[in-house]
């Protein structure tokens, strides 16, 4: 986990490689949830 990680950033599980989204709640508690899968309209 990067020291400067912010809510909404994506990190990869070091064991399985799953993309996880970092979330901080109002109290600053960190949680991880599976990141959204690439949508057909994603990109530039």
């Amino acid at each position: 986990m990067p020291d400067d990680v912010i809510s909404g950033e994506i990190v990869s599980c070091p064991d399985c490689g799953l993309d996880l989204e970092v979330r901080f709640d109002e109290k600053g508690a960190l949680s991880l949830k599976p990141a959204e899968v690439e949508g057909e309209d994603w990109g530039e």
Binding site: G8, E9, W42, E44
Partner: protein, 287 residues
Amino acid sequence: MVEIGIVYDRVRWEEKVLIEASRKHGLNIKTIDLKDVYLNTLNEDDKIRQEFGEVVLQRCISYFRGLHLTALLESMGVQVINSFNVSLLCGNKLFTTLALVKAKVPIPKTLVAFSEEGALKALDSLGYPAVLKPVIGSWGRLIALLKDKETAQALFEFREEMHNALMQIYYLQEYVKRPPRDIRVLTVGDEVVAAAYRYSAEHDWRTNVARGGKTEPCPLTDDLADLALKSSKAVGGGVLAVDCMESPDGIVVHEVNNTPEFKGLYSATGVDIPEKIISYAIRVVKR
């Protein structure tokens, strides 16, 4: 103090450096994950500005989320970079092409059909090889090189089976004989900020960095800068990435991107792109 909102649905490297650049400017930044909010179409203007700021950098990775958010915010008097009209034009390759043609920007020969039969007739006119692109799409997805009629027929059959209305729009371009690279130029307002060559990944003819393409600095000649600026103005201006190819007849523009990724450009050129974008946002507020 200028208040800037940075709206995203995923924090990539680009969003992170934009947030850092905003902080360096001492700005009051509002970072909004669009997945966490809802908006009332009858929202009062003051409330929306409190939540989103005086100007919003719309950085959603999902094109349709970003487009609809932009429509909502603009209806409530918030300035968005890039504007709804620019986003709408740039998000659709055909609309972009029409804007470029109107501005007399050189483009690859492009034909459009609305059925498999029409597309095959268009290809008879265009010749092979040709390139088939979805009118809405990014990162090189669903872009196909049509080497011959048999390939085209097979691909069209697949498209028809996708039962997606947008797949009924056949956007066909000549295959431009070019070096194994294209050129990306970043424009921020009236400034041409940086340019880089993007080289295709091995075994792929597409040059998207998302597909493993590599970037190198590209000299920003006057001609290239003029062309990029003209393309940017053609779609309404803002923070845009103009993608060009070196055709035998000169540089042609094949795409203008609305929420550009710029990590490759930054790495290749060393230009402080986030600083340029934040400075531009400040100027937009003060206009």
